[in-house]
Subunit: 236 residues, 4 copies
């Protein structure tokens, strides 16, 4: 058994439940097929995060099956789920948590329209107000990178550091999103597919009308500070 003290153990239990539950949002929003996609959440107050096991059915994702890792992506032995392999994207998640300390959640999917932009290595232009609200500008592209070491994580961090967007389209691969917690990163995964689809379909029909930069700035600032019942959205 792990022995992080009662406060951290409570936080681990909460993040396990949150991460397990949030996978249902990926299927409900049509972002994943079969066992694809993964959500992770940082444990506040500890150098730990919780992530989905590799290649397991969405119907089997209970809190006790989630896997606790340190910030190098190593499974913490003796904890629930530690007999299983974590998501094959664990190294990328760990890299983000090590290098973006304000980030509390990471999500990866192969959602259709976002991945289609990624296959062309083309950023999504900001032509709808919902995109200005949520991402504050275009969705950037991350370099092509092979899975398995730090190259994907590095690509994500390079693309998103200093960028308003919480989503990056890794070239030929698919979207990674970040957030202040796992739920915020899942919201970004839902929204990036929504804008990828809408802008794709809009452009099929002809010329898009750009939104002036001043209007994008105004929409982004307002949404980050006013929308909803409590501060949420992009990181502050």
């Amino acid at each position: 058994m792990s022995t992080y003290g009662p406060q951290i153990e409570v936080a681990i239990a909460r993040v396990r439940a949150e991460v397990a539950d949030l996978h249902a949002e990926l299927t409900r929003n049509g972002l994943v097929v079969w066992t694809g996609g993964n959500v992770s959440g940082r444990v506040p107050g500890a150098d730990l995060f919780v992530i989905k096991p590799s290649g397991v059915d969405y119907a089997d994702l209970a809190p006790e099956n989630m896997i606790l890792c340190d910030l190098d992506g190593a499974v913490i032995p003796g904890t629930p789920g530690s007999d299983r392999s974590p998501s094959s994207d664990t190294a990328a998640h760990a890299y983000v948590y090590r290098n973006m300390t304000e980030i509390g959640g990471v999500v990866h999917t192969h959602s259709t329209y976002a991945t289609a932009w990624a296959a062309r290595g083309e950023e999504i232009p900001c032509v709808i107000t919902a995109m200005a609200d949520e991402f504050g500008g275009p969705i950037p592209i991350g370099n092509f990178a092979i899975i398995g070491d730090d190259t994907i994580g590095r690509g994500i961090v390079e693309a998103l550091t200093g960028h308003r967007s919480r989503a990056v389209l890794m070239q030929n691969h698919g979207p990674f999103t970040i957030g202040k917690d796992a739920r915020d990163a899942v919201k970004a995964a839902v929204m990036v597919e929504d804008v990828a689809r809408t802008v794709h379909i809009a452009r099929q029909g002809g010329e898009l009308i750009p939104i002036p930069q001043a209007a994008i700035d105004s929409l982004f600032n307002r949404y980050q500070n006013v929308y909803g019942q409590a501060p949420q959205g992009a990181l502050k």
Copy 2:
């Protein structure tokens, strides 16, 4: 507690239930993601309307969470839900109720195909009979407007006053629809996405055949007067 007299209180309760329930139609018809979209309904016989709270989960939309506002969009203090912020589009809804007195419901979504036409600032041509029935002609575009003051509301009213259509595509933003009550506005939101999708797909395949104006007029007039079990559809 509000004290509008028993008849108005009954009407408020009915509109609260109706508005809360109708949000399920937005998700069921795939018009919204996450917490996006909003429905409002006027309280008959009072200068009041009921609207969704801002940024709240669709699963949490019970009648007592709906928010009662006056026609300037101010929350009525001491009423159920008044401790929350109303939809960030409340000013636009209020502007419509103040300026179009026959309107009983307003709906806003970012539904995919309607928003795609909006991103090009292109009205949807009337090339299918279902569109002639429901909207009596093309779906117009409203001027680009920044959220937060009266400019969106003014854009909606300018576009729809004297127009057969109950739907307007606000440029770079998305559809707003109106109706004789909240349900009628929701129907218009469902139908505008349906025709936006069908006409988009039709045009991808080649040249569209226009419908003669006389046939559009005949279809519209018939549908407004004959279809269904009781008069419904466009405003009379």
Copy 3:
């Protein structure tokens, strides 16, 4: 109460239940939105058919709400549901039953892809084997016709008489399908949308490969005689 004798009354009750149930297939297969679409079924052994009421929610379609009509499309007074108006497409259904005596079911929808071909007045070419199996060739276009008199019914009958296809795309309007019974016509409505979508998407990507006529004939004949557990499919 109607008094058709016990055998016909049993047949009416069976067709009422069948027609009410089959509407669920329209929603389950994504062929209709709101109250759109309609299914009817002929009562075997009588000059009668059963059809959906006009503009009624899909959730309210119980057998006793279905409406019994004669072959001129007149509601039979005093029967269950006769206090309501029948589908606004009743005249078209009635025309088909009067003029195609072997037909036992008619379905109408505005399903997206089939309606998109209709908006261009373009028949769907037979380039996939599932289409050869089910329809034996291209899906034809019917002339533009205004709702409300016999012109739609005449257009359907003209297009489908002597044609292998059980589906016709009425120009600028949408698909009508026929079958040996209501279920067979619903199957045709599901399949025509499926092939309309697949062939649309196929053609977006480039040149289609035609299927030789001899292969189309062979596929159609085999499917009508061999597929399934008992003879079904096209009319014989």
Copy 4:
């Protein structure tokens, strides 16, 4: 009753249940409409396989309705379900089991995007990493073949023998997939539609970026050996 000895009878019962259950994945993933599509599974240790009956509703697919066949596709008399006709694609499944002895499952659908590529006779290029993972390169095309004899089975075997891909797009027809068992073949059917859709949409928007062959090789080898909780994926 069949009398294969208790061990084989247990295996038959297990494969019956597995094949019946897996059909639900076809509908859940939107790969089939009406009664289309079929899954089969080889009975380990016997020259037998289990397949879906022809033209039967997806709601009626219980284990005892599945049909037991020998490797020539002949129904085994006296076994549960043997009073029904097996899938009209049974000859193709049988041909695969006879000629690819390491294969334990076969699936056929007319899923929309995969069939669209098939209607153009165009292989799907490998431009997304999920496709390199799962299929190790492009999805090949199989020759046009008429249903009913060995030509479809021969086309599948010719296209997939010595190929990394577990999916083939039979020209003008649709995808067939194979796997080490029925579940693995169903996974391939889900994934081939997913990549067919994503690559189609990607190419609509402009030029695709190829993935270098060395990266494809590396991704494929890693996924076959590392992903998931136990060895799965392509055949070894």
